[in-house]
Symmetry: C2
Subunit: 352 residues, 2 copies
Amino acid sequence: MDCAGYRGQSQTTGLALLRDAGTDQMGADESTMVNERKYAVGLVQMRMDADPEANFAAAVKHVREAARLGANIVCLPELFRAQYFCQREDIRLFDLAEAIPGPSTNQLGELARELRVAIVASLFERRAPGLYHNTAVTLNADGAIAGVYRKMHIPDDPLYYEKFYFTPGDLGFQAVDTAFGRVGTLVCWDQWFPEGARLTALQGAEILFYPTAIGWHPAEKDEFGAAQYDAWQTIQRAHAIANGVYVAGVNRVGVEHGEVKLADGDILSNRAAGPGLEFWGGSFLADPFGRIIAKASHDAEEILLGEIDLGLIEDTRRNWPFLRDRRIDAYAPITKRFLDPVNSRPADGDSK
Amino acid sequence: MDCAGYRGQSQTTGLALLRDAGTDQMGADESTMVNERKYAVGLVQMRMDADPEANFAAAVKHVREAARLGANIVCLPELFRAQYFCQREDIRLFDLAEAIPGPSTNQLGELARELRVAIVASLFERRAPGLYHNTAVTLNADGAIAGVYRKMHIPDDPLYYEKFYFTPGDLGFQAVDTAFGRVGTLVCWDQWFPEGARLTALQGAEILFYPTAIGWHPAEKDEFGAAQYDAWQTIQRAHAIANGVYVAGVNRVGVEHGEVKLADGDILSNRAAGPGLEFWGGSFLADPFGRIIAKASHDAEEILLGEIDLGLIEDTRRNWPFLRDRRIDAYAPITKRFLDPVNSRPADGDSK
């Protein structure tokens, strides 16, 4: 991957860094066969204001608090710098985008280095004029960019007009080393696609972070709200189970109409019509067996803490060894859009 | 696929057959864009005896009852002809296997034709001396074999010594037409692999049937039982969500030590040592949004009935259109065993 400048440190270097930081998270004897290393993650569920600078300041405050509580890796929600602006299509909103590396990664890198934490930050990336991505950056505990992931699956449905704003990612799925462990980043809509979780886990990710902006249409909430939240949590828990990894869904909270204050001080007058979106919070951490080990409320800002235990990953995968039995000889047709019944096609197994 | 004799009828033929049968399940006007067709499935959760003939007779009785209750397609549990014999490795047990087509498919075919139902039957297939499969046969409502699926993912862990008995399937993943609808068959361990569900759904399956034999080790049940059942149900519900299809898990129930009466009348004296396995029942049907719409108990024989509503599949997929957004350009590495971090590799996206 020609992604110069974005390569993470080696895990060994990262561990040395962690030792420098004087923490006592290290239980690992690297000479043993089973890795007993543990680290803590902090999931920031937050509410967004119309002013991006205020949101950024709030995010910094939350990261500091998560670090104070013991988090080694802190994940912020999707596009935390702004209200969820994709509720309508407006070309002025591309002004929110920024380069990566850029102002946000520079400031968050400094913060990460100061606090000795890694940070997963979801940003609106301006790659070139007219070319924008929904991008998750992993900042290592020394402040360097360890990984850049560009959201691969882009939704588009009423009040989530993301195909207007975001070019689908072209860096593939990614796991990267941080000072504490190897993590995978995916973003929101990616969570509905088992392929993304699989391809990230196969790169050795110990945890999949899903910064997210998902909520209820107020008119649907009574009838479908519980089922929608449950489906969202269920499919992510299933990624944990299928792959024997931790999974974190990190969502925003609060009712928003997509109000955005741009750099010139104006608050855009095109507040999305209607009742807005009620972002459903409910951030959670699932263990490698799909058990919810931490969960936030649906209506408040919270910092969720959870422990990543590499021994539990090993134990879970030994007991239910799915990675051993995958039929990789038969999965190639997964690269097809549909296997139309009306057309003849070769078998996807090894028959002739 | 060179599987002559196993090709299903076209769906059109099947529908004609259904009309002949005089049912009133048909709401479809084939000229409209949205298919409003509905049909009923019956899931047989049953207990197994040492005598295969007694089990077969019980299965026939259950199929008759399911048909009487209105089921159009009836699914039996995995390897319903015997107690779960894979609790130990014993070459005499290969005597349980039979050809397909063979005695079971002949008798079940007659039953299907008589009752005008389709039947999904999981059988121990003898393909050649020394070559056996764990096979699910779909019998159409005219008695013909509509599809043969050989279990692709084979487990092997304490008391589930399946790799000794079953050669991994070589027919790939399959959806087939029946008189009532297009169905996919997978078997037990397959349920842990999102790839199998995806490849079956992409062939147009409206429902995935998972005949199953899964249970608790009595020593583990108190500590892990609830989480194990929950993980099992969760990952199958996730297949429903990811693919917008119905999913049926059809399990056996009861404590077994793998007692088997062979054709010569002897009951094998090698009853598996220890406390046996407690098959956990809990068969269920999930709708395309992952909601459980029917669920059986953990300790009793039951016939679960549920409706398959093609309009709900269409509606669910229109609302959360995951099939539209799959990144088929980036999924090819899913055919790899692992994407080892220590090796360089090309990106799985479209970057260079």
